[in-house]
Subunit: 585 residues, 2 copies
């Protein structure tokens, strides 16, 4: 129906007769000549309908977002429009065909409407050049990933969507079975067990761009269904996996973004990341680091410090923020409130106004509790300079990490201390288990199929609390973009880990019996990783929200505003599925 | 963990030290030397453990499917095993490490166990070289398709799995919403409406290797979830679409199978396909064709013939089967029983034993009802030769097509009349509607979004019964491997088609309101096609069952024997989803 794309035309086409299809982006009549900005997925070009031409009458009727077919000749423009790629030319129309009209629009392309109306009319939203760009970035990302994996001999294998309920922490979406009354399929939270089974099936190297489902209360940036690049390798160590995927990620950033990531990526243990950044996914674009000061303040008169400095599971940490002395009381209060969300009971601070004046050069509600030597030691340890503010957190180790880590991110953003660019790293040596005080049992930090560093079952049982796993995360600019591990490949170890997690033999059998059985038949050593495609695409596209890189996303209340899903279903249809709606009590 | 793959070794590696990982395919002790056939995804190589080596003691313990790591040196074999690619060499083991043992196997690799046990232990089944091969064919197919589509500028865009119930004929799988009590998502039967919306969203060319779901009673070769290559193009005619995808399919057969398909594919209207082959997906590897004989027999004394020959919607057709005179009475009865399944009330036949003897050379229960002239005319029309059998079907047009078409397939298979090779074709010009006698209304032959050939709404309404659509199917060796159409892109036509299908305004609004609304905002002309990936993969792999190209398929009763899905769910979990199991009445 067309000879060229709108966005493709430039001076080299002058004199050519072209047929274009697209949408009327803008149309206007100036001095008796009709101008239409015709837009397709490649870009925009100006179409001119002159009054001596039959196309003029048609052009005069054209409204916003009319779908048009235009035939005409490319010529140079009198005044070049440098804002668009085709700005040096225009198309003088011979004929304009209205392929479809458009009703009055709910919003115009150049507006930035609210997200609800964008989602309701997603087909109009996606026509906007900005959304065309983000969606193309996603396509380019996925294509680049596939190229790398295909070239490396990975098999792209699909695993079931209708599968068994095997909770991995989040709630399952369930699907009633018509053929088996009272039974349900679950949608996979990830293809974890299937990819392990594929390794046991001799598939050697597997990948899948896999849809995953979690029925969770949606935080700002989660979706009920999301996409991960799921990978698994047989006969490998964690180093083999990390080397391969690090090269792959470097490759796709080179190909899609034209940037070179660090080679190799920095590496950090979980313990170091928590200690220096208060986070297991530190944003290394931010230079700020936590400094432990417990030893220095343990004999001070500030009770919160001394209490936690002397506590085996306590932490007292300082965060130096360059230029932070300019923060107002209100700003400091806001930061303290932010910390409180992460468990802080309070936030001590110290402004370094003049280092030559000793104690008098420090503005701080807590300085008075520290003697001169302690004060100087703390300032020295933090590397304080004039104009800085130091924040202090004290409390249980994990809590201090959480809120001081959150503080680090917020204050860096507020004070524009986040460097440009890309900061990837590996975080390794995660604890195998976390002790859940409430449930009085261990929970798995990754998932229960992650191998411990020790090979020996008795060793693991004896040292469960301090055991380290063979798991690893890839972090980019403070986002965990990928996570994986070497898996357990022996029945005895898998059963032991289930035991330690308080999963009874019966429960393990009911949920994971097929895995335990499969491990008995010569399961190979194997491991893998999964990457969050939505997040990586959003990072590449430079958008905050993963909704901008998903064609038809759902709202925070898990609705599709375009199709009105979910929706009520006639009872007769539910009867076929052997379920009924439960009336509210 | 390894330096080479087992299947990779050959004489060029002689003298090299290698480390291999894999499974013990066979292990045996001959004359005090241990031989292990070590298998990985690339193939099998013989490992030798000699008694003077420490590896010998380990090798002696190795059982079937033990997972091993072997280090040793490649040397020439005394007696070459020409059955395997590595048969000229063997690896003399220095060390053998048992990475994992294996329990007694439920079946051995070289057996051909029943399908239930294969599915129950799918990880063992998939290790078999035959299954490794079929799964690789599928990977190669999908990779080749993506290469073609990426090169042609298609965007790979994901559409939702949790979506709105919009019946397309089959039953939906439903997913209760936790957040919206009493409401349900449906799993998509196809991304049909989303891909149309993507065209309205200016995406221009879209594809997706998409999972689709139909809750149907499973015939031998259907799956609750299946995979299609879903494609859509904006600003195209059917010829554009067909040209592109025909080239793509030719390309993938060249790349994956090394065969050249016809160029161009033969084309046939629906009417011609039904007339000549009794099927809208004719297997052109079979030369047999139906011949209409109504005109010749309408004055005969065979009442079934004369009744239907004179009926406006009737058909009397003959099928000549070369060599069929050798069929026994029992074989003919079996064929008649097969036809009965497709609606035949009986199956008349005529064996051509000796053409020189006139009527006496014909063995047939019905010859006596035909006078000499009629008999000769029928023989001539069918092109009868000595040794042939002619079968005759009479009845309603569609029924005769169905059972004579089924007969054609079965008799060709029974008598080995199916040629080798690949026979693709396009079937076009499908009726827009079929009249459903039972429901006393039209049903859509493709789906209700298919455009009619006529552009004019009044014309369609006036001629609905004979209206032809802009739909098309790609058929390969008797399988409909792809089906598509140009879609309706204007609101008035879409509403009219809903009307003709007996969908009320309210129902149309409730189910498809978002589509009708989207059509109002400058929807472009668009069309597309979807290909059945499972079927194409099975055809390429040369297997009858699509289950052989699906890693974890379900049984005919929609169960996963490996994971035991579906399964019962605790009521407390159902309560969260606002549903409960309906007790049987």
């Amino acid at each position: 129906m067309r000879s060229h794309f709108c966005g493709q035309l430039n001076e080299s086409f002058i004199g050519q007769r072209v047929t274009l299809c697209g949408w009327a982006d803008v149309s206007r009549n100036l001095g008796g000549v009709c101008f239409i900005d015709l837009r397709d997925h490649e870009g925009i070009v100006q179409v001119v309908a002159e009054p001596d031409n039959p196309a003029y009458a048609v052009a005069a009727d054209v409204g916003y977002e009319y779908c048009l077919k235009v035939t005409g000749t490319v010529r140079a423009r009198h005044s070049v429009n440098s804002k668009i790629a085709t700005g040096a030319v225009e198309v003088v129309a011979e004929s304009i065909e209205i392929l479809n009209t458009a009703a009055t629009l709910p919003f115009y392309n150049h507006e930035n409407p609210g997200e609800d109306i964008r989602l309701r009319y997603r087909y109009l939203d996606l026509r906007r050049p900005e959304m065309q760009r983000t969606m193309r970035t996603r396509t380019a990302l996925v294509q680049a990933l596939r190229r790398h994996l295909d070239a490396a001999g990975f098999q792209d294998i699909e695993t079931p969507i209708l599968t068994k309920a095997t909770p991995e922490g989040a709630r399952d979406y369930l699907v009633p079975s018509r053929v088996h009354p009272g039974e349900f399929f679950a949608l996979p939270q990830s293809p974890q067990l299937f990819k392990q089974l594929l390794m046991m099936a001799g598939m050697d190297r597997y990948y899948q761009i896999a849809r995953c489902f979690r029925d969770e209360d949606l935080r700002a940036d989660r979706q009920p269904e999301f996409t991960q690049l799921d990978m698994e390798f047989a006969f490998v160590t964690e180093q083999d996996i990390q080397d391969f995927v690090e090269g792959m990620i470097r490759g796709i950033f080179r190909e899609v973004q034209g940037v070179e990531l660090a080679d190799p990526f920095p590496r950090m243990t979980y313990a170091e990341a928590m200690r220096r950044y208060g986070s297991d996914k530190p944003d290394l674009r931010i230079a700020l680091e936590l400094v432990d000061v417990a030893e220095l303040v343990k004999h001070s008169e500030f009770k919160v410090f001394t209490d936690w400095a002397g506590h085996a599971d306590g932490r007292v940490a300082a965060l130096r923020v360059p230029g932070g002395a300019s923060l107002s009381r209100k700003q400091i209060d806001d930061l303290a409130a932010h910390c409180a969300k992460y468990g802080a009971k309070g936030l001590a601070w110290m402004k370094v106004e003049d280092l030559t004046k000793g104690r008098d050069g420090i503005a701080s509600p807590i300085a008075k509790f520290l003697d001169d030597a302690t004060l100087q030691a703390v300032l020295a340890a933090a590397g304080a300079k004039e104009g800085d503010i130091l924040f202090f957190g004290a409390g249980p180790y994990k809590t201090v990490c959480d809120f001081m880590g959150a503080l680090r991110l917020k204050v860096a953003k507020d004070l524009d201390l986040v460097a440009e660019g890309w900061a990837p790293l590996w975080v390794t040596d995660f604890p195998m288990f976390e002790w859940d005080e409430e449930a009085q049992r261990y929970v798995a930090l990754h998932h229960p199929f992650t191998a411990p560093k020790v090979d020996d079952v008795d060793d693991l049982v004896a040292n469960a609390r301090t055991a380290v796993s063979r798991g690893y995360d890839m972090v980019l600019n403070g986002n965990e973009i990928g996570g994986g591990s070497v898996r357990i490949h022996r029945t005895a170890m898998q059963s032991t880990v289930f035991d330690l997690l308080g999963i009874s033999k019966d429960e393990a059998q009911a949920k994971f019996g097929f895995l335990l059985e499969a491990l008995q038949y010569g399961a190979p050593p194997h491991g893998g990783i999964a990457f969050g495609i939505d997040r990586i695409a959003a990072l590449m596209a430079g958008t905050e929200s993963i909704r901008d890189v998903i064609a038809f996303p759902k709202t925070a209340s898990a609705q599709c505003l375009l199709t009105s899903a979910p929706s009520p279903i006639p009872d007769v249809q539910l009867a076929e599925l052997h379920v009924k709606v439960r009336e509210p009590e």
